[in-house]
């Protein structure tokens, strides 16, 4: 809110609001917030031209922690709101952000269709494989045998593989990042925003409260040993055999972003009634 009106080069700090996050100390989402602000500074955009859109969940609180325009909507529908906003206002940089429960369970349908529609926006999912805000239930990315009050002895269900699904649904840019590397994540977000069409970044962002074992993720992640590919078949093989800890851009395609065409024969509003006149 304090962005100087004339500056073109803002510091990451100037994208951070004075609202105190609700997150637990040590939560991965703090560094994701830093990465977003770093990326926005690197992109040389101004906060009023950026909208951060989210649903419901711990990570979905993120819009208010930036100085950008924010939209904290209903559970699972961040991508729908972001789609409407970007189509109506193509001049804005639109970033949708949220968690695994919001994005892959209740919002799973919109996730698939957003990949398919390929509107030029960036979707950042902070995946901690748990519903944190409701205090520890399994999400679609939770391991089948993870014990919880709601699903004792685990759900028994195969995990949802977001990157593979994103690829199959037509996402134009797919990357995995880790909250343990804020600068690397900032760089991936920067690339994602610059890439035309729907860009998807999955960020491994541990929940230290309900999944303390995820602290070890920082030792398990490693740079993807491969270059980004634009071949969906290669990417499919890569993603289906991936260990879940490869960090980097894993697919960058060339699909044309969705942009409704303007009419070749614009009319005044009153001219529309001609078809009714007798």
């Amino acid at each position: 809110m304090n962005a100087p009106a004339t500056a073109t080069n803002l510091k990451p700090q100037q994208f951070k609001s004075d609202v105190k996050p609700v997150w637990c100390p040590g939560c991965g989402d703090y560094t994701v917030l830093s990465s977003i602000t770093k990326a926005l500074a690197a992109l040389e955009v101004r906060p009023e031209n950026v909208a951060v859109v989210s649903g419901i969940g711990c990570s979905s609180r993120i819009p208010a922690y930036t100085t950008c325009y924010g939209f904290h909507g209903v559970h699972g529908r961040a991508l729908a709101a972001a789609t409407g906003l970007k189509v109506a206002r193509p001049d804005l940089t639109v970033i949708a952000a949220g968690g695994d429960g919001d994005g892959y369970s209740i919002g799973g349908n919109h996730f698939l269709h957003a990949c398919r529609r390929n509107v030029d926006l960036t979707y950042i999912v902070m995946d901690n494989r748990v519903y944190g805000m409701t205090k520890g239930q399994p999400s679609p990315t939770t391991e089948p045998d993870w014990d919880s009050k709601l699903s004792p002895h685990g759900t028994g269900l195969r995990e949802f593989h977001p990157l593979v699904i994103a690829l199959a649904s037509g996402a134009n840019f797919i990357a995995r990042a880790t909250s343990s590397d804020p600068n690397g994540t900032a760089d991936l977000i920067t690339q994602a925003v610059r890439h035309p069409g729907f860009s998807f970044i999955e960020v491994l962002s541990p929940c230290v409260t309900f999944r303390p074992e995820q602290r070890s993720w920082k030792d398990m992640v490693h740079p993807a040993p491969v270059e980004p590919t634009d071949d969906p078949a290669r990417a499919a093989r890569r993603l289906m055999t991936d260990d879940g800890f490869n960090i980097g851009v894993l697919f960058a395609g060339h699909r044309k972003p969705y942009r409704p065409e303007a009419s070749a024969s614009p009319k005044r509003v009153a001219e529309l009634e001609a078809e009714f006149v007798l």
Binding site: G108, N118, L157, R158, F160, A168, T241
Partner: protein, 351 residues
């Protein structure tokens, strides 16, 4: 939704299956879909498959959502249980039904609008859960019931009747089912009875989430060119109205081609769909190979048909949840009441 009763009299020479049922016993009411609709051929294949398998009609439940295809359970297995549910929500209703009574055979019938648009989230999660069912998607790439909007499986670049070009990428339900963990994944064509009937039988027999995407041409709406004379006439007649109510009759499209072969099938609208039947040597037990195969064929503009994937070690949701062998709806007080000893222990724990 039909008011014509089929005659109950059976021709004495109609062959009966192992249980003594004739094919007529597996039929439903008279279809009210457009003449030549691929969905009616799929209904016929389901009837044939169930007769072949000698399924007791009362042991099968057919569930559907909303749309043309979701109306078809009225047109087959008239003596089985049916539940026409809400738009896009058939998978969750079927999941609940299956959990309550594992003894029935579950047939999920849906269309591309129902499964790939409003219900895509449910479609994905029901495959992931591995619900024991045969899920048949009657895929025509268009919303017929609301008169011709694009559905999510419409090919990118295809044109709707009103001329809008579809700008969104198509959802390939077969790839999605594979990636979501379905343990039986197949694709067929409504007019290929030789291929479709065995697939339906195998899907019913499969002990897990079985999915068949059946390409099924829409005679009324998926028609770009308007080639026939009568069609032109009709179009002119309808230029003034906001809703079509006149269609020429069409014949159902049928095909017959061999394993490994490719066939170009002209559709009602004049477009052509290239079907490639899987080779006899194709190994359906490799999930990654299946995905690559489909992608490679798609790059050549071909649609692969046949059994694309079959998990050798398929399990269903009941196994995942470790439920008891008896169907839940048959458990009586005797099985469910933990007894006085348990009550005493609970009481003691609360003191």
């Amino acid at each position: 939704m039909t008011y014509l009763a089929k005659p109950r009299l059976h021709h004495p020479t109609l062959p009966a299956n192992r249980l003594g049922y004739t094919r007529r016993d597996y039929e439903g009411k008279v279809s009210t879909l457009c003449a030549g609709c691929g969905h009616d051929s799929i209904s016929a294949a389901i009837i044939q498959a169930c007769w072949d398998l000698a399924i007791e009609p009362h042991r099968l439940a057919k569930l559907s959502g909303i749309g043309c295809s979701s109306k078809t359970p009225d047109y087959f297995l008239g003596q089985s249980h049916g539940f026409n549910t809400v738009h896009g929500r058939m998978p969750s209703v079927l999941t609940g039904a299956n959990l309550a009574n594992r003894d029935l055979i579950y047939l999920g019938v849906s269309g591309d609008g129902d499964s790939a648009s409003i219900g895509l989230g449910q479609f994905a999660h029901v495959m992931r859960r591995g619900v024991n069912m045969a899920y048949i998607l009657e895929n025509n790439g268009v919303y017929g019931l609301t008169k011709g909007q694009f559905s999510a499986t419409a090919d990118k670049g295809s044109k709707a009747k009103r001329g809008q070009v579809n700008a969104d990428a198509a959802i390939d339900t077969v790839s999605l089912a594979l990636l979501m963990g379905a343990t039986f994944v197949a694709r067929s064509f409504s007019g290929d009875k030789q291929q479709l009937v065995p697939l339906v039988k195998a899907a019913i027999a499969h002990p897990g989430a079985a999915f068949i995407d059946v390409i099924s041409p829409c005679v009324a709406f998926n028609n770009h060119a308007g080639s026939t004379k009568s069609y032109d006439y009709v179009r002119e007649h309808n230029a003034a109205v906001n809703r079509l109510d006149f269609w020429p009759n069409r014949e159902a499209i049928t095909v017959d081609y061999s394993e490994g072969g490719m066939i170009e099938v002209p559709q009602h609208d004049g477009s052509i769909i290239k079907l490639r039947k899987l080779d006899a040597s194709y190994d359906p037990s490799d999930r990654i190979n299946a995905v690559t195969h489909i992608a490679t064929a798609a790059a050549k503009g071909e649609v692969l048909t046949g059994l694309l994937y079959l998990a050798p070690d398929a399990e269903d949701l009941h196994a995942h949840l470790n439920t008891c062998e008896t169907a839940f709806n048959r458990l009586g007080e005797k099985e469910l009441c933990p007894g006085a000893g348990m009550l005493e222990r609970i009481n003691a724990s609360l003191r």
